[in-house]
Symmetry: D2
Subunit: 329 residues, 4 copies
Amino acid sequence: MNSFGRIFRVSIFGESHGIQIGAVVDGCPAGIPLHENDLKEDFARRRAGGIGTTPRVEPDLPRIVSGVFNGKTTGAPITIVFENTNTKSGDYSNLWDHPRPGHADFTGQQKYGAHNDPRGGGHFSGRITLGIVAAGVIAKKIISPTIVSATLIEAGGSKDIQAAVEQAVATKNSIGGIVECVCTHVPVGIGEPFFDSAESLIAHMIFAVPATKGIEFGSGFAAAAMKGNEHNDNFISATGKTETNFAAGINGGITNGNDIVFRVPIKPTSSIGMPQETFNFKSKAVETLVIEGRHDACIALRIPVVIEAATAIALADLCLLAQQKPRIV
Amino acid sequence: MNSFGRIFRVSIFGESHGIQIGAVVDGCPAGIPLHENDLKEDFARRRAGGIGTTPRVEPDLPRIVSGVFNGKTTGAPITIVFENTNTKSGDYSNLWDHPRPGHADFTGQQKYGAHNDPRGGGHFSGRITLGIVAAGVIAKKIISPTIVSATLIEAGGSKDIQAAVEQAVATKNSIGGIVECVCTHVPVGIGEPFFDSAESLIAHMIFAVPATKGIEFGSGFAAAAMKGNEHNDNFISATGKTETNFAAGINGGITNGNDIVFRVPIKPTSSIGMPQETFNFKSKAVETLVIEGRHDACIALRIPVVIEAATAIALADLCLLAQQKPRIV
Amino acid sequence: MNSFGRIFRVSIFGESHGIQIGAVVDGCPAGIPLHENDLKEDFARRRAGGIGTTPRVEPDLPRIVSGVFNGKTTGAPITIVFENTNTKSGDYSNLWDHPRPGHADFTGQQKYGAHNDPRGGGHFSGRITLGIVAAGVIAKKIISPTIVSATLIEAGGSKDIQAAVEQAVATKNSIGGIVECVCTHVPVGIGEPFFDSAESLIAHMIFAVPATKGIEFGSGFAAAAMKGNEHNDNFISATGKTETNFAAGINGGITNGNDIVFRVPIKPTSSIGMPQETFNFKSKAVETLVIEGRHDACIALRIPVVIEAATAIALADLCLLAQQKPRIV
Amino acid sequence: MNSFGRIFRVSIFGESHGIQIGAVVDGCPAGIPLHENDLKEDFARRRAGGIGTTPRVEPDLPRIVSGVFNGKTTGAPITIVFENTNTKSGDYSNLWDHPRPGHADFTGQQKYGAHNDPRGGGHFSGRITLGIVAAGVIAKKIISPTIVSATLIEAGGSKDIQAAVEQAVATKNSIGGIVECVCTHVPVGIGEPFFDSAESLIAHMIFAVPATKGIEFGSGFAAAAMKGNEHNDNFISATGKTETNFAAGINGGITNGNDIVFRVPIKPTSSIGMPQETFNFKSKAVETLVIEGRHDACIALRIPVVIEAATAIALADLCLLAQQKPRIV
């Protein structure tokens, strides 16, 4: 399903080389100021252009075509669309028989058969995350004063991100990275026990972002080697502030008011300029595949803002849900 | 929400010291053999009893009270219930003012106010995972021949699990661990692009399991330091078999037929025998808290079967969903 | 699916001759007083016993087995179960080959195959509505001060219900009726445009009640012969009170504060004592079928309280949803 | 919520005088031929133009902007958009203080406050049903060979529809009507017990169509005056064919293969040229309101195709759901 959320429901659509991509955001409260310009900053962060990012640069000019009147949301579904302009579909024609390793060419073909759209990854393209970023801009307004901030903290195994990227470009290879996301000013009490825990919804959304390979909250994998007396976050104030924050601000699936902190590993971009030895489904033999076209040497550079958006969408749904106050009859 | 799934929908209910706990499983196809005895093995794996697990041992005798006739599922909702018998609610009376670090006492009180059930963690208790395990037994039958197998691969930072547990017990402390889960004989083509990716649904369910702190698929966090030419899983056969499996059997959110592999860090049990310095919300001061009662020194020992169940539930939903074949009009 | 609701989610389970039937109610706010005795009145209204109702009388003693502590809801899922005690499964053994007209014997067999539970209608039995009534008791508390009140206003085409029922009993036949439901003290502004209109959710739930054949709101079918100047409900006060109420308190899917009024036709009970000429799927011929067992001559007598419950459940979901107030950033 | 469906999920968006209106259709199988021209016929049936319909005529040229490649659906979400071109927003400026009887002006203002879009009914406009019709075209292909056919069978209380409409136009009044919908070649076994009964989903969708006041299946309201021996549909063949069809092809919420038949009353258009005495929320007095602008004298003329679409959408979701066959392990 290309929609997420029980109350704040985001649907995304589009293909890399299709006519339009976009998002429909339903369940957004009325009265939130919203203008195309509000999307500029996050779009610029996501956009390609610098070293290590693809030379395909789209203008990504959003049009808000429904749900906003006199500069504010009306309560009706908000639709934001983008035209695809800079498409070169010819680049991808031979990949049907020789699916690219690491991509969804093979699985898309298996699932959708001959009808799968192969142009630039079709609906599987990272370009579709533009809709997630657009919806994230709205979500960020809903969860205010909570602030979601994600940063690339390392790439290619190094904290010197710039150097690592330059080396990847030079070798026609690609590198991964780790994104850290911190949510501050989080209200106490959002998240639901078990299946709609705050971690469940955030993780659900994070794995909707292509190239993510994991997520760890707070202590994360380090928790496995810790002892209970180290790991327990002792309370130190009447507001629920804790001395440490290994819980990442969440206990029993519900926020405790401390920061939500998590890290997400990003795999190296699957498209690389180097030749790859992989099965040709037509010739039935392992053969050399060389991928032409325009690629990111380090897609992780562009992902932090997508992670922010994904997180804000999950939190917006939980925040709106938690506004249902207990009623004492 | 205490329910999960679009087609195979699992709802769980109950409290640690309540009358009954259980699960309702809706959307299960008719004709699947099911008997109370089928739950024995997984229940035994989850049950306490050995060193490092709580001395509270419940018989956990399941009753299937609906949805099964003549030993087979009927297509109607399947309800499985368990009576709570071995409850000692007196143990937990003073924790309202002095919430336990690492537990959901504080967040439960904040979210539900004075109405939160404090007895043994109430609805937040790990005991409620019994319903997940019960639903998992059914899910495992649905996804057959796919097999889900989870193992505790380290505890307390050591591969010598037994020694690590004994030390934790001796010091009245607790330790965490890492569970690895492998799914074999996975069909090609389950999972949906973006929001219902196979990773999204599995991660959603895994974070419904108390004490989980993260999840990584295949290469996971190591991917961040890898290069594209290392990370790409080259195809080596016409069935889609790959040479390596850093993708963990999933591309573009959709299974490619290779094994699904992921790892989950488990935090050390929050309840420890050692005294803890933490805020007393009545006296408004940091004071020493000593937790009486019965605890697990290493809850990670009991979690693999819950991870299996959570995974099988996610896969069952995706499998049933994927049976909707394309129709060429 | 045997569950309904986005926020206030009701799941029902059980079979006519199974072990337990019941309901799980998720998403109920904490702090609502709830005791088994609260169900007595509505259960008594639903229960058989009088003339025109089946001689099978179950005690219908509810057990609340989760979600309530110290007499109030805790915010966790509420589970209410009933044991089936008065079952005589032998009555129904020959209906597999000779499905009863008007019943779900044929469709159940077609959908679930040999695994369909034929005992007393299995999961299709009207007895399962006990779970709806139980959930309705909780829903009625949530929507308070809104009051939902349903009445049988005619039976067998006559306003003299008693006489019509007696005649049906005397002739071993059955009769239908019309239930009218009025909701008073309805808040303004619940319901969502289009797919979650107040009428959509109410109608969805009403058709979950067996034997319902239609629903009309306010002017209903009479509207088809009216003119706009007659049908428009002119406003007469600043609270939105209207002179007439053909809209049944709903405009654009959203409540306007006037009473919600609708009527539901109930078909005559399908089980009748008279012989019926219907196809025998074993002999492949139309043959006479005589249904033994215990039947209601006028099931409509017992349905008003189920209609109330179904309506209250739909309204509870919409009420909780509408508590999400606009936030002006 | 402006989305519907568990598997075949339709989301609609837009406002009467907004930039674009449209629909996103998720969960559509791959491989279904789809072209803009396929929408022409149903759009023509919905469009205004003849006597009794509004003089506002939009070209309604659809653009399929995602989800279709080489003339066939790809399995990705299908988005269909329409530009609004013929908007005259000036007509509606004074209706804020003097909401129109029968319209959603008042409820929209109450629900969304000052942010409600008042232009031509905003998101509540019947124009938004264009998205439903577009999705319906796709749904009709999915459910093929099932055919859904709706007809206006009376208007203004008369079977002489033409005469009734002419009289309404002449008097600047409006009239209602009754739409009958018949589904033929329906597969056996779609629909789920209780909450997702075939009637529940169809009725849910029908009440998403503005101006509908009720629905009755088969015998409908007449059932209330019938006897069991008359109403029971006796089987007459091994395929489940019945002698009568008072059940409208549905037993226990599940289709039995006979035609699904239902009728829907449509209220007279709320916008009329005649003056109306209704409350002015600014002056706080009942005053005369005269509605300028372009109206339908008989909106029921344009609704049959919307009813068809709504029905096909509900059936498509149930059909796709029912393809999950029992698996005998």
